[in-house]
Symmetry: C2
Subunit: 153 residues, 2 copies
Amino acid sequence: MRQEDRDAVRLWLRLLSCTNVIEGRLRTRLRERFGTTLPQFDVLAQLEAAGTLTMSELSRRLMVSNGNLTGLTGRLAREGLLTRTASSTDRRAQLVRLTPAGRRALRTMAVQHHGWVRSMLGGLTPQQRGSLHAMLGRLHDTLERQYSTGGPR
Amino acid sequence: MRQEDRDAVRLWLRLLSCTNVIEGRLRTRLRERFGTTLPQFDVLAQLEAAGTLTMSELSRRLMVSNGNLTGLTGRLAREGLLTRTASSTDRRAQLVRLTPAGRRALRTMAVQHHGWVRSMLGGLTPQQRGSLHAMLGRLHDTLERQYSTGGPR
DNA sequence: CCGCGATATTTGAAGCATAAAATAAACCGT
DNA sequence: ACGGTTTATTTTATGCTTCAAATATCGCGG
């Protein structure tokens, strides 16, 4: 294995490890405190930010497949946290919206979630966080430039 | 939401996004070229590096649950890429080993995998990669310091 | 040697995720 | 208006993942 490969793989594994640790803790806390999951939280958060979205638009923003979203929104609808109604202008499309209960649930969870994220990243100084943010921004740019096809859809 | 929270969440989302893009592309390529999955590749790679491992040791190193590994190694055993044999000294433990076919398969895939990782990270300069590596190392340290409990087991 | 807590693993239920195929509706050039 | 292509969504099959409960074995104190 070339030295360049070795370095790249090490960097990749470190990136993956950091992400997994943070994601794992967020997942655990969401389950323990709210009995929910990270993907469900993400759906609610996206809807809170955007108002009304179609299934496709939601799946694009969350970067998950369309089929995945069918089940995900189904579970959230079953819990009464969102509604799916047929669009009046495009009979193929479903309009997804938070219910009042969904909005309330999200707001409560979001406060905690943000606090958890802040405290997990709080071990870095503001300078370090800024530098990391900038570096990751560059990485993201180069990734987008390489192939337009991101991940799943 | 406090400014500090907002920055932290943005940094977290950027970290997550970079990881997901890279992971998605690796997953797609492994499926297209080799008909396998990232978790299965990870199992093989870990075994190649370590030789013989028990289920628990393997799950610790991959940072996945024990139950997960049962299915994962089952599928790989079905494909003839690894074997699970009862330990002679501890009848609870299973010793997991690559078969010759598993070792061959891994070596072929690893070459490609490393190349993919290198090319995805190749948009950054060596300095940028070094800096990112260092920053993530610091983040990983602070995460470990916060709670010993990482993610799943 | 007995019993009890710890360890190793599997099982089962639920949810997450993808890809690929199937439906259905919209759009568009002619 | 027709036919073909694209777009929106769901369905199906498969695999990943966790957690919690169940099984089995180990190791140790008494």
